[in-house]
């Protein structure tokens, strides 16, 4: 149903007013996360679920992709996270954590499960590291730089990587990350600092090319 701004309509003095004028205030307000979660928990409302999926899909995918480094695995992890949300919607307590925090916690756990399962593959991958890294003097293309950064981030310890991704790429505060990862803001700060130091060491040979 088309809607016209109330202000424009009221300016037309003497014009015939429709019997049931539609005002902006009649438009349904954007449902909050809490409303949607309530509908999922109580009625298993798929529309509410779809709204939440559209709201968080890209954020969670970006996090999972940077945690896992593989698109297919990242998509699978995000799907698993959403299905957990669907199944355990009742267990979310809005007073304890925001949905954002809760979802990142679920996603982080899911990604850790995936990483645990493929640990052996990562070890094999590790063997090729030296041969893939070019010499410090070599100028590399931007694409190649991106690949090396991705590789360096993927080789960080799990917790360092998660803290760095949530901080740098998702822009979460240390306090929020602490709530997601079950650590104090101070220790999150330490994790991020160590992650950055490791990255600097691993990518130092690229500084000449920048």
């Amino acid at each position: 149903m088309p809607t016209a701004p109330t202000k424009a309509r009221s300016s037309k003095k003497g014009a015939a007013e429709p019997e049931n004028p539609v005002r902006l205030s009649d438009q349904p307000p954007t449902p909050t996360d809490q409303d949607l979660m309530l509908r999922i928990a109580q009625q298993k409302d798929q529309d509410a679920f779809a709204t939440l999926v559209n709201r968080y899909r890209h954020k969670l995918f970006a996090t999972c992709y940077r945690m896992l480094g593989q698109q297919a695995e990242a998509e699978e992890a995000v799907q698993d996270s959403f299905l957990k949300l669907w199944n355990y919607a009742k267990s979310w307590d809005a007073e304890k954590a925001s949905l954002n925090t809760w979802l990142y916690t679920i996603t982080g756990n899911t990604c850790r499960d995936v990483l645990r399962k493929r640990k052996a593959i990562l070890v094999e991958h590790d063997d090729n590291r030296e041969s893939e890294l070019p010499g410090g003097q070599e100028v590399v293309e931007q694409k190649e730089q991106a690949r090396l950064v991705k590789k360096a981030i993927n080789e960080l310890p799990e917790r360092q990587r998660e803290a760095l991704v949530l901080s740098y790429y998702q822009g979460l505060s240390h306090k929020e990350i602490g709530a997601i990862m079950g650590s104090s803001p101070k220790s999150i700060e330490g994790l991020i600092a160590r992650a950055r130091t490791d990255l600097k060491q691993q990518l130092s040979f690229l500084s000449e090319a920048l």
Binding site: A50, R57, Y65, L83
Partner: protein
């Protein structure tokens, strides 16, 4: 000191720039939603991969086989134990008669059927015949060697059984 600080800041900036190169590929939202909702519809509650770990036992044949063997063994043990307990309780008892004939005794607590009565009588008759043979000092092996005279001295078996069981036992 300030020089060092500048150097660190520079390195941080360089790192930030490098990290900015790490882009995320485009996600096909429609395909993603379609897959997600098909998974949601498939198993109603929408089991996740980690939830599926609980039913992995059914999807691995060797685990299922092992599980079946354990169940069968347990069932076998239970049945054999049950059987022993029944025997101990005296539901099936065998009493051996001194002359080597086993007599089945149905316990008093159980209902005695006509078949049980018939079998018991047959057994009783067999025992009686053997007891008679022993009493007359004649075994089955001797029977083939008995003389005509001895046969004549021995009372007829029918009359003996009639005395023992009654004339109506012939109709059984």
């Amino acid at each position: 000191m300030s020089k060092d600080k500048n150097k660190t800041d520079m390195a941080d900036a360089q790192l930030d720039r490098l990290m900015g190169l790490y882009e995320v590929p485009e996600l096909d939202a429609d395909a993603f939603n379609q897959k997600l909702f098909s998974r949601l519809g498939q198993d109603g509650a929408g089991a996740t991969n980690s939830d599926n770990q609980h039913i992995m036992i059914w999807s691995r044949p060797w685990r299922f086989a092992a599980f079946t063997v354990v169940v069968l063994l347990s069932a076998g043990l239970l049945f054999s134990k049950d059987d022993f307990e029944k025997r101990d309780a005296g539901q099936i008892q065998t009493a051996s008669v001194s002359i080597g004939v086993e007599k089945t005794v149905v316990p008093a607590g159980n209902e005695i059927t006509d078949v049980d009565r018939f079998l018991n009588e047959i057994i009783d008759q067999d025992i009686a015949v053997l007891e008679y043979s022993v009493a007359m000092n004649t075994g089955p092996e001797k029977e083939s060697a008995t003389s005509q005279e001895e046969d004549q001295d021995m009372p007829p078996i029918d009359s003996f059984l009639d005395e023992l069981l009654g004339i109506e036992s012939r109709t059984l």
